[in-house]
């Protein structure tokens, strides 16, 4: 089941074998009446239209730790079906047998019994809803594609996420995330950082560069459209379809793509001719150069913009805000209906607004109920060289706000200049403590109870730049205060003010 290129129907022109009479080619023959030529032309056009309108063969792309592969999808009863044996085959030991009563599949030690025409199956003795009839064709068991999200966890013991419309199936936590940021060069370069190496196919067309990821489990950022506030490269759009993810970079100048850091970084640069033709740079405005994920950078207010000399050339000053937990990781259950993961997203959005209103571009790592591993969070913060990483937590225990810096684990296995992942924060810890103290001072100024502490809290110790965690508790016994917008804004405004006040220090550390 290797990766296959989707078979496409011809999109234009008439194939030679399309049944067009050879006489059509003989239009130069003067004895053919014009009416016959016209009829032949219309016939050719109709045939071309029919052929180009033939639906392309659909595929299901499966991404897992064991293998990434593609499978054909077939249409039955108006639904999309896929062979269950073929889905499981690359993942482990699997066998299937056609019996009198139905079809039995065995994956490792898990057995599933399916009956033709039935909408339910038995897996390990438990009922499983297929959402459509089970079909058997040539001893192949076909199940609706939508049933994979309920069937596969029974067989594999782990979660499976289906992007139904685009035909992409993610088994386990295999997703590749990315950030995008624009450099302050003129003309600018757009840099994509990916959490895993990628190798997309690249196509250019006037006004756009398209990267197609057919093998990589790339997933969408918080918003599919990323805007950068640049005339040269105004935006990039993420889309998915037929088992592939596509990143389209819109550019008003000719651009090319180059790869670095073992395929984890893709840089979209102007071609030599367009770079030479670009006008001299306008007055520097470093803070408008970053548009990570869904963030739309806002014009920097003159009052809060520091002198541009504090920013290293090529390094963008921006903050990473991490809404902790998410997905299956609920965090603390704050009440019967309120989970920590929901409060942290609200706090993250509020903090982004507060930071950006102070001219600090902000990347929110989780702006939905997505699941991100701690390593992925740290990788995303490190890849962009964020000036500061702020993890947000919420708690019902205690009063006010706690600001944490990393409690580094014992030793670490540093080898020469290579730092251990578990103690990557080591060199930046004084800077983190300085930022934490600034946040605490601002909280105190606003009469919010606050403590600063070290904490064994990942991924603070994995972040190479300044990193703090802010745990917000209610000021009274009522946990519902955590959802009150005015309380959230009170806290996030204090954090943003402190970060803006330490911008020179944090920016200098980036150099």
């Amino acid at each position: 089941m290797p990766w296959t290129s989707p078979k496409r129907a011809p999109t234009a022109g008439v194939p030679r074998s399309a049944g067009v009479p050879p006489a059509i080619a003989g239009a130069s023959r003067p004895r053919w009446p014009a009416a016959s030529l016209l009829a032949a032309f219309f016939l050719a056009m109709m045939l071309s239209s029919v052929l180009s309108g033939a639906p392309p063969e659909n595929h299901l792309s499966v991404y897992s730790v064991a293998a990434n592969y593609s499978l054909p999808i077939v249409q039955r009863d108006g639904r999309q079906y896929v062979g269950l044996l073929e889905v499981l085959e690359p993942l482990g030991k699997v066998s299937a047998k056609s019996e009198k009563w139905g079809w039995r599949l065995r994956y490792n030690n898990v057995e599933g019994d399916f009956q033709v025409g039935k909408t339910h199956a038995r897996v390990q003795g438990r009922d499983a809803d297929l959402g459509g009839r089970f079909l058997e064709e040539n001893n192949r068991g076909l199940v609706p594609v939508t049933s994979l999200t309920s069937l596969l966890p029974r067989f594999l013991g782990g979660p499976a996420t289906l992007h139904e419309e685009s035909g992409r199936l993610f088994i386990g936590s295999v997703a590749t995330h990315f950030t995008a940021s624009l450099t302050a060069d003129n003309p600018p370069r757009l840099v994509f950082h990916f959490t895993s190496p990628v190798n997309p196919s690249i196509a250019t067309e006037p006004g756009a560069l398209r990267m197609t990821f057919s093998r990589e489990p790339l997933v969408a950022p918080a918003s599919p459209t990323l805007t950068f506030g640049s005339k040269a490269i105004p935006s990039a759009i993420y889309s998915e379809g037929n088992g592939m993810a596509v990143l389209t970079v819109n550019a008003s100048i000719p651009v090319i793509a180059s790869f670095s850091t073992d395929g984890r970084t893709v840089t979209i640069s102007p071609t030599a001719t367009s770079a030479a033709a670009s006008p001299p740079p306008p007055s520097p405005n470093p803070s408008t150069s970053v548009a990570p994920l869904a963030t739309t950078t806002q014009p920097t207010p003159a009052t809060s913009t520091p002198p541009p000399t504090t920013i290293a050339p090529g390094r963008r000053y921006f903050a990473v805000v991490d809404a902790s937990h998410g997905g299956d990781d609920l965090g603390e259950t704050l009440s019967n209906t309120l989970f920590e993961k929901d409060v942290t997203v609200a706090l993250a959005r509020s903090l982004r607004q507060e930071l950006e209103s102070r001219g600090i571009p902000t990347l929110v790592l989780r702006d939905s109920d997505a699941s991100l591993s701690l390593d992925q969070r740290a990788s995303l913060a490190n890849a962009g060289h964020a000036a500061i990483y702020i993890a947000l937590h919420a708690a019902s225990n205690g009063r006010g706000v706690r600001v944490y810096t990393a409690l580094l684990p014992f030793g670490g296995d540093d080898r020469g200049t290579f730092r251990s992942w578990t103690s990557a924060q080591h060199a930046s810890l004084p800077l983190s403590q300085s930022a934490a103290n600034a946040v605490a001072a601002e909280m105190q100024r606003r009469q919010i109870p606050v403590r600063t502490l070290a904490a064994p809290l990942r991924p603070l110790n994995n972040v190479i730049g300044a990193a703090i965690a802010v745990e917000v508790a209610p000021q009274g016994p009522d946990s519902s205060q955590l959802t009150a917008p005015d309380y959230q804004q009170l806290v996030t405004s204090a954090v943003a003010t402190a970060i803006a006040a330490t911008r020179d220090q944090l920016g200098a550390a980036q150099q």
Partner: protein, 199 residues
């Protein structure tokens, strides 16, 4: 006409059915009213033998998020490893009390403590300890700091501590406190000093 002996047999069977039904109903009621112990409280090991000693336990307090030193008189065995286990069990007995300042889930236990030279302590907790632990950065940090500071303050020479759950590595205690790495005792002692000040 139904034979007499047949009628008698049916009557006897009916009486037996009614009597057994009544007995079953009674047994069910009795079982429902009998409280079921939520945890197995049977002793697994003989009582610790040894003279009572005064030790210092560092007890977490949720009300102000602090760690406070408290003296306790507990029987201590002679072996270094057994002493460390008894220390943590004494600490847990405080936390499992209803009036505890830092409540742990029922059934929380220290399965074992291993002291490995040079300077390594491995604390093996049971799954009830971690699974029933409340979630939160501070509340988890207080538990970890309390365990490590108590064992290191009373057992000289420990430099790093690893916490296992049911003998296995675990990412976090309850979603926050990292259990994947070795704790640096010096760093935890500094944290304990921070936690002993509520400001």
């Amino acid at each position: 006409m139904i034979p007499r002996h047949f009628v008698i047999a049916i009557a006897v069977l009916l009486i037996a059915v009614l009597a057994l039904s009544g007995y079953a109903w009674h047994m069910r009621k009795t079982a429902a009213s009998t409280p079921v112990a939520s945890t197995d409280t049977r002793p697994l090991a003989p009582p610790i033998a040894g003279p009572s000693e005064q030790v210092t336990l560092f007890v977490a307090h949720d009300t102000d998020g602090s760690l406070r030193a408290e003296s306790a008189q507990i029987p201590m065995p002679s072996g270094r490893q057994q002493r460390a286990e008894e220390l943590l069990r004494a600490l847990l007995s405080l936390y499992l009390d209803k009036s505890s300042p830092h409540v742990l889930g029922a059934g929380a236990e220290v399965r074992a403590v291993f002291l490995v030279d040079p300077g390594v302590a491995v604390i093996d907790l049971n799954s009830a300890f971690a699974d029933k632990h409340r979630s939160g950065v501070l509340v988890e940090e207080l538990t970890v700091a309390s365990l490590i500071h108590t064992i290191s303050a009373n057992t000289p020479g420990i430099q790093k501590v690893k916490i296992l759950v049911d003998g296995n590595e675990r990412d976090t205690l309850a979603g926050h406190a990292d259990l994947s790495s070795f704790y640096d005792v010096t760093a935890v002692n500094q944290l304990a000093t921070q936690l002993q000040s509520t400001q």
